[in-house]
C-alpha cells in the first residue's frame, strides 16, 4: 500500500517526528511504499541541518536523512511554513527538499492513506 506521511511538529520538543519515523520504518519493513513525507507547521524544523543534539541522544534530522537515502524517500518541506520559520536552502539538511503545499495535496490524492503526526 502507498502511504503519505505528514509531520506537524518540530524535533525534540515533541515526539511526533520520532513516532512518524518509527511508523515509516515499520511500514517499509512490511513492504509498503512511502509516497512522500511532508513537513508542515513547526514540522519544517526537522529539516534544519544546523541541529546538533547531544551525542547521547538520537539525532532526529540525521535519522530522517539516512532513512531517505536508504529508501529513496521523498522528504518535502513546505516552503511557506519554512520561510516564516527560517528554514531555507542554506540551512536545509541533506535528504530534504523545499516545495509548495501542492505536494501535500498531491500526496493526499496519490497515496492510499495519509497519516498525520503531531499538531
Amino acid at each position: 500500500m502507498k502511504f503519505a506521511i505528514l509531520v506537524n511538529e518540530g524535533p525534540f520538543n515533541h515526539q511526533a517526528s520520532d513516532s512518524a519515523y518509527q511508523f515509516v520504518k515499520a511500514a517499509l519493513a512490511k513492504g509498503h511504499q512511502i509516497f512522500r513525507v511532508f513537513f508542515y507547521y513547526d514540522g519544517v524544523y526537522n529539516a534544519s541541518k544546523l541541529s546538533e543534539p547531544p551525542t547521547d541522544d538520537r539525532n532526529v534530522v540525521a535519522n530522517w536523512g539516512k532513512l531517505a537515502e536508504e529508501h529513496k524517500l521523498d522528504l518535502v518541506v513546505c516552503v511557506a511554513a519554512a520561510l516564516r520559520r527560517g528554514i531555507k536552502d542554506e540551512n536545509l539538511a541533506p535528504g530534504f527538499r523545499i516545495s509548495g503545499l501542492g505536494q501535500l495535496i498531491e500526496a493526499g490524492i496519490q497515496a492510499d492513506r495519509l497519516v498525520t503526526f503531531g499538531d
Partner: protein, 102 residues
C-alpha cells in the same frame, strides 16, 4: 471500512481524546499513542470513560509508548489491544482513512 482515529496527547492535559470519542462512530478503530497511552490504563480517573468507549469502538494502545513511560502493558483496560509500530501500520492499512486528533 471505517476510520482509524489516532490520539497522541494526554487526556489529562488536553481534551483531544474526549473530542475523538464524541466523533468516533461505533466500529471505528482508535489508537492511543505517545502521551495518550496513560488513557489506556486501569485505575485512572478516566478509566470508566475509556472502558465505555471500548465497548463500541476498537481501542488500541501503542506498546512502545507504554514501555517508555514505565506503564505495565498487562494493566491496560480489558478490551484494549496492545500493538507495536507494525500494528499501527496495519491499523492504518485496514482503515478507510486516518483522522489524527493529535
Amino acid at each position: 471500512m471505517s476510520l482509524l482515529h489516532t490520539v497522541s496527547k494526554s487526556p489529562f492535559e488536553r481534551t483531544n481524546l474526549q473530542s475523538c470519542l464524541k466523533l468516533a462512530t461505533p466500529g471505528s478503530a482508535i489508537l492511543l499513542y505517545e502521551d495518550a497511552v496513560i488513557g489506556a490504563m486501569q485505575g485512572t480517573a478516566l478509566a470508566d470513560l475509556v472502558a465505555d468507549a471500548a465497548k463500541s469502538c476498537k481501542l488500541h494502545v501503542l506498546g512502545p509508548d507504554l514501555a517508555a513511560r514505565g506503564l505495565d502493558a498487562s494493566k491496560v483496560l480489558p478490551g484494549i489491544a496492545v500493538v507495536d509500530y507494525a500494528g499501527f501500520v496495519d491499523l492504518a492499512e485496514q482503515a478507510s482513512a486516518v483522522q489524527a486528533w493529535c
